[in-house]
Amino acid sequence: MRKAKPLPAQDIKPAPRQAGLVLDAQLHLLDRQILDVDGVPVTTVDDVELSGPAPGEPIPEGTEAPHITALLTGAVLGTRIFGGRPPSSRFIRIPWEVVAGVDTVVSLGVRANSLDASWLERWMRDQIIAKIPGGRHDPE
């Protein structure tokens, strides 16, 4: 690994003011809990999908900035930890359109059951837990 050349401190200008909420992906988005509209945990933000430039291609000046198209979950977590990359057809997407807010948790504006991300939970509920007596009742 080549050593990085540090920039002289005077070359670093004060940060520009941004209107609206500013999010650093690693700090504010990745690994956060996702709750549905009823506050039920759905999953975590395992990765984030961006629109925009073809990777590794030169970006013409004036190109519109990429934006977040979806939060990803599922197999991407494994590849994020152990390396490699699943084909994008295996991504489980939570489109940015259903995200209602980003705070210490990411909240959605829809119910968990309507999302692909909850298929395993629904499968375990229907195949295992609901079949054991008492599985659908409140604890006493």
Binding site: A4, D24, A25, L50, I59, A100, V102
Partner: protein
């Protein structure tokens, strides 16, 4: 493109000189509100000259407790800076190349 392709890759200037690693990607929610929340537009990347393990964010926030820990991590991340999207020439899993006339901004988060 997914975020993980980007995080931790090398950042070089237009001459190929290595400046550091992508330690984070900054977004702003400043477009007109869409369905629920406005679009998250990419503002730029945070470049750290040393290591990309920036999980604590001490260098970008106003937190200095517990003191020894905050100092240690701040020191590890000294010299990190923000480069805006407009100054990025190439971006991908193989790294980020900046345009010849890029501007480095402080990576502090607005309070």
């Amino acid at each position: 493109m997914i975020l993980n392709d980007l995080l931790g890759t090398d950042v070089v200037d237009s001459t190929g000189q290595r400046l550091g690693e992508v330690s984070d990607v900054r977004f702003a929610l400043d477009a007109a509100p869409a369905q629920l929340l406005s679009r998250a537009r990419m503002v730029g990347v945070v470049v750290c000259p040393r290591t990309a393990t920036s999980f604590l964010g001490y260098e970008r926030m106003d937190v200095n407790q517990p003191w020894p820990l905050a100092q240690l991590l701040r020191w590890r991340h000294r010299g990190s800076f923000l480069v805006l999207w407009e100054d990025i020439a190439v971006m991908g899993p193989d790294g980020v190349r900046l345009r010849s006339e890029f501007t480095a901004y402080e990576s502090t988060l607005p309070r």
